[in-house]
């Protein structure tokens, strides 16, 4: 092999990576890691807060839903009560109406049986007295 080539090979074999290269690599790695570290710290702070907020929102949503259900239940109960009152009132009016019809029938019956015969009798008596020749 040529002398120059051998020299070149020896020179290449003796070449060492300057320590500054490793230092620069270390610097670049630390620079690369800096944003990820801050991101990590942000995430460690943000995750519990997000969990708390989520729990709060969930709790509020649940409370609102409970209140809505209670209101709906109360409205349904009120509607049922009103319907019951209407039914009871109808029943009461029906009873009164029946009582009045019965009372009217009874009055008619009483008049025909108790008042009309004596009146007719007295009328007949008066009529016979008047028509009798003196």
């Amino acid at each position: 092999m040529d002398k120059e080539l051998q020299k070149l090979i020896h020179q290449l074999q003796d070449e060492k990576c300057p320590s500054a290269v490793l230092d620069r690599v270390a610097q670049r790695i630390s620079r690369q890691r800096a944003p990820s570290r801050s991101l990590r710290s942000i995430l460690t702070g943000a995750i519990p807060i997000a969990c708390l907020l989520g729990a709060l929102v969930l709790w509020q949503w649940h409370a609102r839903r409970e209140a809505q259900l209670a209101a709906e239940l109360a409205a349904a109960q009120a509607r049922a009560n009103r319907a019951l009152i209407v039914a009871q009132t109808q029943e009461a009016f029906g009873y009164i109406g029946q009582a009045l019809i019965r009372a009217a029938a009874h009055t008619e019956n009483a008049l025909l049986k108790e008042a009309v015969p004596p009146l007719r009798n007295s009328f007949e008596t008066v009529k016979s007295k008047v028509t009798k020749p003196i």
């Binding site: 040529d2 290449l12 290269v21």
Partner: protein
């Protein structure tokens, strides 16, 4: 912490190899330092996913890819029309910017520079094989797995690289002699 220790150990173990390979491919120290930095940063970023049994080949492949990108960029910057050219072709056409002063020709540093320039004129594949074998001391099989070629191709490429280097150096010598005469 484990990752950092692992990285430190690996980078200390392999940085010289990476640097030598990059220096052989790019031909100057500043670029070789940049290539070493990039390779080590990629090692850091990919460390959790790398197969540590094959780390040497992986690092050298990463270095090679980075160096090829750099060579392409240089070539594109020098002549924008030559975009997407094969790196081997680019390297064959690298400028012959050696000092041509004959009084300087006898100097040993000049002789070394001549050899270095000859190395830079080799196609990339031949240069990779030569640098990995001669400077980094890799075996044929290791070079084959790093460059993704059969072992026999590695042997042939190494032979060709030596022949081509010898031819290039002798060509320069005869040219200098002509200049002197």
């Amino acid at each position: 912490m484990i990752r950092e220790r692992e990285f430190q150990a690996l980078s200390r173990r392999h940085c010289d190899e990476i640097y030598r390979y990059a220096l052989g491919l790019l031909g100057n120290q500043a670029d070789a330092e940049d290539a070493t930095q990039e390779a080590l940063l990629r090692l850091w970023n990919h460390l959790p996913r790398i197969n540590l049994f094959n780390i040497r080949a992986w690092l050298l492949q990463v270095t090679r890819n980075y160096c090829l990108d750099q060579i392409r960029r240089r070539s594109n910057a020098a002549s924008p029309n030559k975009a997407d050219t094969d790196p081997d072709e680019i390297l064959e056409e690298w400028p012959d910017d050696m000092a041509v002063d004959p009084s300087f020709a006898a100097d040993s540093s000049f002789q070394l520079e001549k050899a270095r320039q000859a190395l830079l004129k080799l196609p990339e594949t031949l240069r990779s094989v030569f640098v990995l074998y001669e400077a980094n001391g890799l075996r044929y099989r290791e070079i084959a797995s790093t460059l993704g070629m059969p072992v026999n191709t590695v042997k042939v490429n190494l032979l060709r690289a030596r022949q081509k280097l010898s031819t290039l150096i002798h060509k320069e010598e005869s040219w200098i002699k002509n200049c002197k005469s």
